[in-house]
């Protein structure tokens, strides 16, 4: 029944003017919007049926008289087809913000629409819901708030059985939720959390994906950590979410993407992550990571990063929880294959989506920071050299690569011996030539550890003009103490 809107850049993407923008500039505009917390994402389901296209041209903006006429026809028409047709015309007009404004300013319009939404004519009900869905896509919070009278019904219909209708209600709710705090303030007491907890047991994939979307919007609310996440965690939703993320034949990527993002919003809000760990989140996400790496190997295609990104974030943040350590002081996530999988994903990001490399390296840092076992894996699986190959990507990536290497080196001589000889020293001499202070600073830290645990490195360093490389930075305020100390070590050694 539904297809997603055809892919093309809209003139504005949620308040961000995008017409005529190159993709790179679009990215900048969206990043800026995110920084200002203006990045509002919505889903629009719109049926582009052949007959509509055949009637030609874009739907026209409707004036007040026309809106009134269509509503009257829908409410009081004698023929069902005529009533349905009136709502279809109204719905098309509501694609325009001007028509949306006209609609909400018209007295009694929402009441009539809600009446049609709850009518005894199923197809009228569906068209009324589609009109509401168009309204939900508005970027004006006043329009979202005008839809408040409908929310109790949208929630009620979530316990129905018509999967297409439920899907539509969920996307509409998701759009309204993200647009207006007033809507969220009403939906919570209206029982959205238990309604979602019941609906998540649906066997329909489209419903689950829509539910994940709506839930992800709810979880992104600024008041979510205090007002929403606790009741989500107290419900059965977390267990169901984790079930949707278990790898296997039943895993549906579209559904998994939504629930992975939901988990990310919960986890990074740090409300009660030990509870999620108790539900097996670490092992589920770890297995999913392995599955993703397997999928990457089997295919060239894009789209996997949409799921990989939130999974990496969830794992990374969960690893910072004290609950990760069991009684024996061992991490719950210990399987060496996680490191192998992560590198396969890093290679995939390197080729297809370099902007996600920092997120992958973040997980690598959190895996290796307190784990001699994972540091040993990096060495025994020969992953140091691939790691070094990432250095040229960007300064942020360089700092993270060097940090991971420091995680390995700081564990002592047994580890540094495995870093020597090899490409590490030449690489450090190269990164010391960078102008970025943070990159150089991290290089100095690593050099210090190498000199400490592998003194033979000092001689080679001096022979390869290491001192000159150091002296380049001796005036830099943030670096000079460390430069001086290393110089002393080198000269004394």
């Amino acid at each position: 029944m539904w297809s997603r809107r055809r892919g093309h850049l809209r003139p504005t993407v949620c308040g961000v003017e995008t017409s005529g923008l190159e993709p790179r500039d679009l990215g900048s505009a969206l990043r800026k919007a995110r920084r200002e917390q203006q990045l509002v994402s919505k889903r629009l389901l719109r049926e582009d049926a052949p007959e509509e296209a055949g009637e030609g041209c874009v739907a026209a903006i409707l004036g007040e008289a026309e809106v009134q006429q269509f509503l009257r026809q829908a409410q009081r028409g004698t023929e069902e087809k005529e009533r349905e047709g009136a709502l279809v015309s109204l719905r098309r007009g509501l694609q325009h913000p001007e028509t949306q404004q006209t609609f909400i300013q018209l007295e009694g319009s929402m009441r009539t629409l809600v009446g049609l939404l709850t009518s005894n004519q199923a197809l009228l009900q569906l068209e009324a819901a589609r009109c509401l869905h168009e309204l939900s896509h508005s970027e004006q919070s006043t329009i979202a708030e005008a839809c408040l009278p409908a929310t109790s019904y949208l929630l009620t219909y979530l316990s129905g059985h018509s999967s297409d209708f439920i899907e539509l209600c969920l996307y509409t709710l998701g759009n309204l939720i993200v647009e207006s705090e007033a809507v969220r303030r009403q939906l919570l007491p209206q029982g959205i959390v238990p309604a979602l907890a019941a609906c998540i047991q649906s066997p329909h994939v489209a419903v689950l994906e829509a539910l994940g979307y709506a839930l992800s919007q709810l979880l992104q609310a600024k008041e979510a950590p205090e007002k929403i996440i606790p009741s989500i965690l107290a419900s059965t939703l977390p267990q169901h979410m984790l079930q949707m993320l278990q790898p296997g034949p039943k895993l549906n990527p579209g559904v998994a993407v939504e629930f992975a993002w939901c988990l990310h919003y919960i986890i990074c809000s740090q409300v009660s992550n030990p509870l999620l760990i108790g539900h097996g989140a670490l092992s589920t996400l770890g297995l999913l990571l392995l599955d993703l790496a397997g999928a990457v190997q089997r295919t060239e295609d894009a789209g996997l990063e949409l799921l990989a990104c939130p999974v990496l974030r969830c794992l990374s943040n969960l690893l910072t929880e004290a609950a990760v350590e069991t009684v024996g002081g061992q991490m719950q996530l210990r399987d060496e294959r996680v490191v192998a999988a992560l590198f396969i994903l890093l290679q995939f990001f390197f080729q297809k989506q370099p902007s996600l490399l920092p997120e992958g390296l973040w997980l690598l840092n959190n895996l290796t920071a307190n784990s001699p076992s994972f540091c040993t894996s990096l060495l025994s699986l020969d992953l140091i050299e691939p790691l070094l190959q990432l250095l040229p990507v960007s300064n942020v990536v360089s700092v993270m690569v060097l940090t991971v290497l420091c995680n390995v080196a700081e564990k002592g001589p047994a580890y540094c011996q495995r870093l020597w000889p090899g490409p590490l020293l030449p690489t450090l001499l190269h990164t010391l030539a960078f102008s970025d202070t943070e990159v150089v600073g991290q290089s100095l830290e690593l050099l210090h550890l190498l000199f400490l645990y592998q003194p033979e490195a000092v001689q080679v360093f001096l022979q390869q003009s290491g001192l000159q490389a150091l002296e380049r930075h001796q005036e830099e305020a943030q670096l000079q103490d460390r430069v001086y100390a290393l110089r002393q070590t080198a000269l004394q050694g």
Binding site: R34, G160, A206, A340, Q442
Partner: protein, 286 residues
């Protein structure tokens, strides 16, 4: 970025934990001016570290990243009428019929033919409108259950419950699935539309034509248990199912059938972001 060839094999092999090399730290490692400490890092939600990934997510939701396939044609079938007794609707698309069925026949009270959007609301209606035992008990204790799923509050009267719905759950005062029971007319069983309004505000009814047969003869007050109501309801479903069998379709939950939606990407797809949506499975229902 070149990965060692053995890595893929390692991924394919079983789980394992590397035996860690011995850890031996020198206190000079962390001595000033050096300040490196190995530690896991956490980022809160609004951190700028997440910018790029969040923008990707946004573009995905806005469908800028993924192009859309042609909308699947609604499968058309020869026109057929709804088989539920008293229903006169005709359809030529199975999607439409499914929505109609679920909306109007899915949760129907077999006493008064009112349709409800969920089993939960139907159960409440049957108890409160058609169960004499409920009436008796409600004189002694709070029996009117809150209609919001998950809320366990009960009330003495439907009026009190409505107040609760409005005050606590912010429901509309005229919530359409909470019509108070009107004066009982002893001469007839409940009939549709007895609230007197003929508007879209009605609790849903199956058909605008009056329903001829009623299970309860006029004047007799029955106390059907919920179970016998369910049997009547089931009979409706089975009738419909047999019709649909002829059409070669299944209705309702068919757990063995996988739904998936088709989305084409800018490039060719492999991993299951390419999904095709079948709204029906054309296997006969066993």
């Amino acid at each position: 970025m070149q990965l060692p060839p053995a890595l893929c094999a390692r991924l394919a092999a079983g789980p394992g934990v590397a035996e860690p090399l011995p850890v031996e730290r020198d206190p000079a490692a962390g001595a000033a001016p050096f300040r490196f400490v190995a530690r896991p890092v956490r980022f809160p939600r609004e951190h700028e570290f997440f910018e790029d990934g969040d923008v990707q997510r946004h573009l995905y939701l806005q469908d800028v990243l993924m192009q859309v396939a042609d909308a699947p044609e609604k499968p058309r079938v020869p026109a057929f009428a709804c088989q539920v007794a008293g229903c006169c609707q005709v359809f030529d698309a199975l999607d439409d019929y499914e929505h109609h069925y679920h909306t109007l026949h899915g949760n129907v009270c077999s006493f008064c033919k009112r349709a409800f959007p969920s089993g939960h609301l139907l159960d409440a209606h049957i108890l409160e409108w058609h169960d004499s035992l409920f009436q008796i008990l409600s004189e002694r204790q709070d029996m009117y259950q809150c209609l919001v799923e998950g809320c366990t509050e009960k009330f003495k009267t439907s009026r009190d419950r409505k107040d609760h719905l409005v005050r606590i759950h912010l429901y509309p005062v005229d919530f359409r699935f909470d019509k108070p029971k009107k004066n009982r007319s002893p001469a007839s069983a409940e009939v549709p539309g007895d609230s007197g309004e003929r508007s879209e505000g009605e609790a849903m009814e199956i058909c605008s034509e009056p329903v001829a047969a009623s299970p309860a003869p006029a004047g007799e007050r029955r106390t059907y248990s919920h179970r016998s109501v369910s049997k009547l309801f089931l009979k409706h479903v089975l009738n419909v199912c047999s019709v649909l069998r002829i059409l070669g379709c299944t209705l309702g939950r068919c757990a063995s059938h996988t739904e998936f939606r088709k989305v084409t990407l800018g490039k060719k797809i492999g991993f299951r972001f390419c999904r095709r949506r079948k709204s029906r499975c054309f296997r006969s229902c066993e």
